[in-house]
Symmetry: D2
Subunit: 406 residues, 4 copies
């Protein structure tokens, strides 16, 4: 369905070529200062037409707040908002009347609904993500103000160009007895997670905050564009200052909701948190994050292979994860395929497409992450406040209750 | 929370050392033949003590059905079931009274609840998965009977031992201009997805259905066990004969619910569907699954990089995905870490632990997959039946409605 | 929260004096012919300013469909819609800056949110019901087309003026041994349930489809209006042709969801289905609905004290229920009360108010009923279709399975 | 489905004649002292065989806690519990193999599921309510400890015997110009709401805390029993010390969730809060609850016609409501009706039945009320805590934010 979240909840509507796309954000805490500009900033980072690396579809994506805010402050009631669809050229898609685009949603929407929008991606269009980004921007504003939480995503690969790519040539079967963890979790990468800022990320059209890599990525995207082709990539995201204790065992572990959120973004195919797939290759003795006492008295870890989550619950360390986006399905290059009726033929899609979605996906990833943190935070508020109202327990063995993190 | 699903729903209870663990399965279609044995089969594949590769904790894990079934047929009412906890040795865990186990849930549960079970993993114990496996077995029985759906998971890596591991030594930065997809998606791997059976998988204690690889995996696990250490791995799962049209845009895409389900399994850190992370590296022209007409008139694809899902909706092809399990956190080997109170020290956990969880994770992965398919199928039933009762639409452009898959 | 429903789901936004009020309707079956006019008809029945019995606030309440419909046919995707707030006079409410209106939501919103809209009812305004009515109109269109379901509400009392009011003077303690059921369930009332139409209802400004009673009701409302006072009333609603088998035991019984829906309408305080409170007074032998065989072979009942629902599940008979609306809290007449700060004083509210809400509540009740039926229908579709795909059961005692209603 | 609640959630299983009935209670705050006896007390008030006014089925209904509690303290994890079905006599119900009991769920379950339990009420049996009562007892323990909340239900009518029944003989059409509110809301009734205790209620086998009325009720029930018939009644419930601010506009108003909860109890047909249906008959000027300042500085009301809820949100006053239970459908007296196959005939049910359910319904009503309050309280905790972490707002007009109730 088109709703995400339990206590902080976004519901979206809109297809690629209808009157507007929009969202209702329900459960926003009252008393939060909020302006349209707070939302617009992230929408503008998402909008098409930002550089020669993205689709030429030109949408200003101006947000119109409808409700839930008065005198620049949230009322606690649902925030309705919408963005008009303006630069529509439905005719552009006429080839796809006959052909389902390979690896696109054209065919599956028909299988699901028995009907599909007459042009463009319809509901599967990336314009659907506008509502998410708007909702995420509101969540993020709260998280920053109330908890100092920072959410920063960046492009970590385009095609085979990897940030801090040190994919070892040695990574073969011969390595079976090598117990070390490699690659993406290099010291440089770990340092970046601690320091990267949104401003730094936006200095690069690729949104990869590393000059040399970004240039190679740009080259890779241009190569795809010139070949009327497309290319995939990955986005990495880090969440800083998220309180310990978030995430609901059993089925709604923090990383489970995060994975759900991320794989609901169009074109995603993969998710990993912390050391991820690479971490499966090393023994526990190397992979476990030993505890240390920080200066403020809290326990913490220095290695953080866990990516800030243990047993489905945040531990107060930085949360970082990576999402894989496939290469966009819509390409102008001719493809041998079949029509809806089965007739074989050649499709060369017109329309305006992104050769690579990852630079524009960055604010979408941030938004979905903000929605997950916000929802889990509210749920944990409910419990923590409930506990605080009980009389202290005096009958338990001392090892069953221990001090909560400062 | 402890409930998963919308129309087919499982709710579980139980800690590692309480009276029993159990589940309520709600929404099971009435009229399904069901015996305790149907459930027991998968529980026995999950239970500890199956081989020298798993924990020596010896639980028979006999399931007791409480309700929802009469004369061997489901009534449509909730199915209550439980498995008693028998081989409990709470004393074994006394070291962990002082030390939170590194990378385990001990510390985060305390941060969340302010209290933790006095011994063992409590709710974070793998015994929690019994309810999932039982629920999945029931879903699976329905899916097999009503749709011929097959769900088969197997171990695809242990540490650095990969099934069909052909991790190319060429995979370095120099490859940036190589547009080919590599590794796990080899022809051998693709062939295995089509043919593998649960019987074949169970011939191997590792549950890796390839003799030579399985032997190397066994060796790797034994090496971990002898070192009082642990090792991670991956499980791959294939779903065959899943109808087209399942999955709910926008937020409940099929792969999003699948990722949610898989990352709710203890010790998971990564998920990918179809070509996954590897698929992000190749251009759309290579990655798109061109359509072909099958003999029955349906459209299909031969390459299936999409893994059976496009735009969040199943397309009728095989669905396959891979999950990364970290190396178990509990190891007997001494670890330098800190006590709950911050005092540095050395922890050498006693207790009975799996050196590697992936062989026992196989039925858990199958169960969670069955739960997702079952739930999405019921939801799509609701819509498809609703549409079938409407009068035919005659006013639409012919390209907006097209024949549904046979 | 602002979302209602499981598979057919409406989410609303909007306060009394913001830019617009609107809704997202999710889960509408694709392939339904739908125009703005289908929605407008019910909105216009709800809108203020229809007669001298309602608030003089004059809103055209024109609906703008944003998405989910193309070429006049639903796509199965969310339908976004909005109605602009036009005739706003926020200044009218300035007295209520100091005084919480007695029995209004002013005080409780502040207790809940710590902030309230600067004027009018904010989110508690009846304008919030626009989204419900729009969503209900869409559901109703489907229900009519696919199942021939009819939903008709009418005003059954205003103050002490009751339709078919034959409140027996004998109804005193002396009646304890009288086992008969009385009053509202008279033969005339039962006949009305079978025949009443929306057209008939709309012939009367009170929406009470009985000339003499309607005139007495009009008189009663005018009396309240002239006294700068207000008056309550009841609305009765009948649903015809609802299939048997809807409603989900245990917690989501049909009448439980219906009661939930009805008591979510502003100003409601009471709900009863079938014989309701009156039915509690007679013995089972008088109250039970004996079965008869209809000509089509189905079982049915002639008495229908149950109101079409037994054990929480519809039985195919007409469903009828009654909702009590209190007299509107906002009155222009002076009231002795206290300011927010506790200072006693006199409040005489300005602003434009309905002296009696029940005539305008009629389409709201119909809408909420349609939402409940639609949602339960989709949920039952899911199950019924699932069962139909199973092989027939041959092992059950014959008394456990019996033919389904035609 | 069989789950109720959002953050405090109960899921139940069990039919009348299966192995056990049980529940999983999820979301209980950790750190609550809880013993089986806390649950048993309410179960024993619900159990059959308590007096000659109830069914002779004799069940001890001993509860077995399975999980979620250690050393007498809740862990925050799900609490599994079960009660064995012991005194089963399935044969007793053989007549109902042929006949659907009039006004019972026999017929509708078949329409819904196509199959029904072979004997007794199956899932529609009152034994299903055991899980609710157990869950409610746990919620109640928390509510008492953390907020001093008291929940007391009592029988307010049996048949035409009403507590404080002063149904005026004058209540006829001639009263249209009488603006007074009458009957159930008499001063005596209002006084009872403030003072009644559970101990007082339990002094009477009818659970009507008024000697003379209780004796008349007993007489009425005995009359029904001797006639092999049954009789209905009403239960009134009061909640004291519920904080202001609970309830979620729009669709989840406090009274909407309460009505949902109450009408999910078997045999219920009606619900009203505060002045209810009677309150619809008087003008706003008489019905509005004027504000007064209490000694502690809070605003409150003396009249409380609203029943403690305004605009769907609690206002801190006592919450009181009334539920109508129909006369039990199962009677031993012969009834002319039809068989499942349509053949007319006479049914005289055997089995053990309550002639009147309201005395045993009292703890069920209390339990469902506790579940609603608990859930709404947790949800409001989430918001209130979120707001408390924001910086103070200085830019709002002073009339938009006002002090929260002490």
């Amino acid at each position: 369905m088109s709703t995400f979240g339990t206590l902080f909840r976004v519901t979206t509507y809109g297809e690629s070529h209808c009157a507007s796309v929009g969202a209702i954000i329900d459960g926003c805490p009252p008393g939060l200062e909020l302006s349209a500009q707070d939302v617009q900033t992230q929408l503008s980072r998402r909008r098409p037409g930002q550089s020669n690396l993205t689709t030429p579809r030109d949408e200003k994506d101006l947000v119109h707040l409808q409700s839930g805010v008065e005198h620049g402050v949230t009322l606690g009631t649902p925030i309705g908002l919408l963005v008009k669809n303006e630069d529509q050229r439905p005719k552009d898609y006429s080839e796809t009347d006959l052909y389902p685009r390979p690896s696109h949603a054209d065919y599956t929407y028909l299988q699901k609904y028995g009907i599909k929008a007459s042009s463009g991606g319809g509901r599967s269009s990336a314009r659907e993500t506008i509502g998410r980004v708007a909702a995420g921007a509101i969540a993020e504003k709260y998280l920053k103000q109330a908890h100092g939480i920072e959410i920063i995503a960046f492009v970590s690969s385009v095609g085979k160009v990897h940030l801090f790519s040190s994919v070892s040539p040695a990574r073969t079967d011969a390595d079976e007895d090598n117990d070390e963890i490699e690659d993406a979790l290099s010291p440089e990468f770990r340092a970046l997670l601690v320091t990267v800022t949104r401003e730094e990320v936006d200095k690069f059209p690729t949104r990869c905050p590393h000059l040399e890599t970004s240039e190679r990525m740009t080259k890779r995207i241009i190569r795809a564009k010139e070949a009327k082709d497309s290319i995939g990539g990955t986005v990495t995201c880090v969440l800083r200052n998220v309180p310990a204790g978030l995430g609901e065992p059993v089925f709604d572990k923090f990383e489970a909701k995060l994975a759900h959120a991320m794989l609901s973004i169009p074109a995603t195919k993969a998710f990993e948190i912390g050391s991820g797939f690479r971490g499966t290759e090393v023994p526990g003795s190397k992979h476990n994050d030993a505890f240390v006492r920080w200066e403020n008295g809290n326990l913490g870890t220095t290695t953080n292979w866990s990516g800030g989550v243990q047993g489905g619950i945040t531990n107060g360390e930085d949360i970082y994860f990576r999402i894989g986006f496939k290469s966009p399905a819509t390409i102008s290059r001719a493809q041998e395929t079949a029509q809806y009726n089965g007739t074989p033929g050649t499709l060369a899609a017109r329309g305006r497409h992104d050769p690579c979605v990852v630079p524009r996906a960055v604010p979408i990833v941030e938004a979905m992450a903000a929605l997950v943190v916000m929802d889990e935070l509210l749920i944990q508020n409910a419990r923590r406040t409930a506990v605080s109202l009980l009389p202290p327990i005096t009958t338990l063995p001392p090892t069953m209750t221990l001090p909560i993190r400062k």
